[in-house]
Amino acid sequence: MSVRNVGIVYRKELTEALRDRRTLIAMVVVPLLLFPLLSVGLGSLITVMVNKADEEASTVMIKGGDDSPKIVEGLRQLKTIHVVPLQSDWKSRIVNKDLAVVVEIPEGFDKNIAAEEPQTVVVYGYDGDLKSDSAAKKITKFLEGYRDDVVKKRLASHELPDSVLEPFRTKSENVAPPEKSGGALFFGGFIAYIVVFLCFNGGMHPATDLTAGEKERGTMETILSSPVSRTHLVLGKFLLVLTTSLSTAALSVISMGISFTIANALKTRPVQEGASNAGFHIGFGAALSVFIMAIPLAVLFAAVLITISSFAKTNKEAQSYIVPLMFIVIFPAIAAIIPGIELTPKLAIVPILNVSLLCKELVIGTYHWKYIILIFLSTCGYAAGALFLAVKMFQRESVLFRS
């Protein structure tokens, strides 16, 4: 009878949840859309924008250079820029994004080169603006080439070889597996953050709806008048919140796996940039490991959400308690992304941070078994404590009939 009642409550809550638009959005739509949008959508968009800026002829003005026709002619010959006559309001034109950059050629540029006098060519631009940065890059590339030619000519005039400027070279080489180094570490932390965040987010609305929402709608008294015990009632509700939380986590892991595979195939820019030679991908084993570690975390979240929401009188009040809690959850998840924060025995018992750090390692294929066991057990312990608290809260009249 008792387990049967937990099942009856769970089935009813599931039926209602699947008819609730807000729960479905948080549980299904957000994880299924977030990763494709982040990886393929946003990646493709950035790639298109950057390529467009690179291919488009940038509008450039040249300040000075009247006495140095050689460099000015060199700039005018560039096919990637479009030189327009200098205007007095060039600064505001750059700020208003009507003009990409201005190149200032110092007075007597050609003469100074011949005299081997030091001088500076200034490129004025809008730092952070894609078109301006792209134009500055094109100009700088041209100027560096121009400078190298001058240097070569000077060396030749002094009968010196090119190697005189470069007695030796430096080179860095990565010995770590490509899938575990570079941007992959950041990627792992980012995935952990997203899983933690969505796990919490997936359970948020159902938890408030099944507790404070029931009080607000007046169905709490209805269900309390039925023979189901309060422990079984809260367990049925808890299982539903856990289901939505885990479904969100599972869907997000599946979605991110597929999305990053597609993003790698399309070679969209953010993936290319951070990944060095390795494409970002999540193997089945890593995805399964992340999901398994998300289970006790989801239990913890579900129990905490039920406990806090059951104290509230209305959905709105419950939201006001949970939103600050979300920051408490997000903070350790973000901390896991910060370079240099690694798993230690002490950090392995810090809730949320421990799972985030572990997931970061799991995503890149590193399995520290002693930490995995410690983190799994400690999170299970926290989850059991939170669930016990949720059951106790549901047995308190002062909480259920708070006025």
């Binding site: 009878m1 009642n5 039926t15 209602e16 008819r19 169905t219 008048s225 039925s226 015990s229």
Partner: protein
């Protein structure tokens, strides 16, 4: 049968300290009888009925429902009670049928019995026209019928009604009143609270007047008339309650 024995309920209030909402209330309500608990707002009616329905636990004293103690065996008590009040709402995203079936299952009915019982009740209350409609799409009258069906699904021998007609239009209120009479005619033990004198006069076999959590007077309408020398129930009520009301207010 309902037997309340020295029922007490105290609450802690930040401003007022300990509040005694129900103070040693004892009464008996027998099968085939309607017991009316009459009192002003805040008199202790709802708290008393919630204790009988085991929604609240008594601070002291107890009550026996069909031989089961509300403190020691609350789940067995709830399985024998149908509780209806204006505060007992319906699940908005369930259909009328799902709502009734949910409570049938929680009351331990097997699927075959449940189906038979649901069909019976839906026929009797003329609910077939909206059985598959979600509760948030029902009219007030349909909602009340669904609530009645929910309380009846497990055929409980005891019915508890807490101000069941509060805020309802006359036609919906009449449906509820007719239902309460039907319960009595079926031999169920019925207790209901109200502050509407006409309902009490029309329905109740025994009347209990409650104020400040204390049961101040009890008896049939005829007995109360004789005891207080008044014919009108409202006058009797005022005569009983006024001294205590003044002390509580003052």
């Amino acid at each position: 049968m309902i037997e309340a024995r020295e029922l007490c309920k105290t609450f802690q209030d930040k401003k007022r300290g300990e509040v005694r909402a129900v103070d040693r209330v004892s009464f008996v309500c027998r099968p085939g009888q309607i017991y009316g608990l009459l009192g002003a707002n805040g008199a202790g009616k709802t708290t008393t009925l919630r204790m009988l329905a085991t929604i609240l636990e008594p601070s002291d004293g107890t009550a026996m429902i069909c031989g089961y103690d509300v403190v020691k065996e609350p789940e067995k008590v709830r399985a024998r009670v149908g509780f209806l009040s204006t505060a007992t709402a319906l699940y908005p995203r369930l259909t009328a049928q799902e709502m009734v079936e949910y409570f049938g299952r929680l009351n331990g009915l097997d699927e075959a019995t449940l189906k038979k019982r649901v069909d019976e009740i839906f026929d009797r209350l003329d609910m077939n026209g909206f059985r598959d409609r979600r509760c948030d799409k029902l009219s007030t009258g349909m909602k009340q019928k669904t609530s009645i069906a929910r309380t009846l699904v497990h055929n409980p021998p005891v019915m508890i009604f807490d101000e069941p007609t509060l805020g309802l239009d006359i036609m919906t209120a009449r449906t509820i009143i007719a239902f309460i009479c039907e319960c009595r005619d079926q031999g169920k033990t019925v207790i209901f609270s109200t502050h509407v004198m006409s309902e009490v006069e029309k329905l109740c076999d025994v009347i209990g007047i409650i104020q400040n959590g204390k049961l101040l007077a009890e008896g049939s309408l005829a007995q109360l008339r004789e005891r207080h020398g008044e014919q009108d129930l409202e006058e009797i009520f005022v005569k009983v309650v006024a001294p205590h009301y003044a002390s509580a207010e003052g």
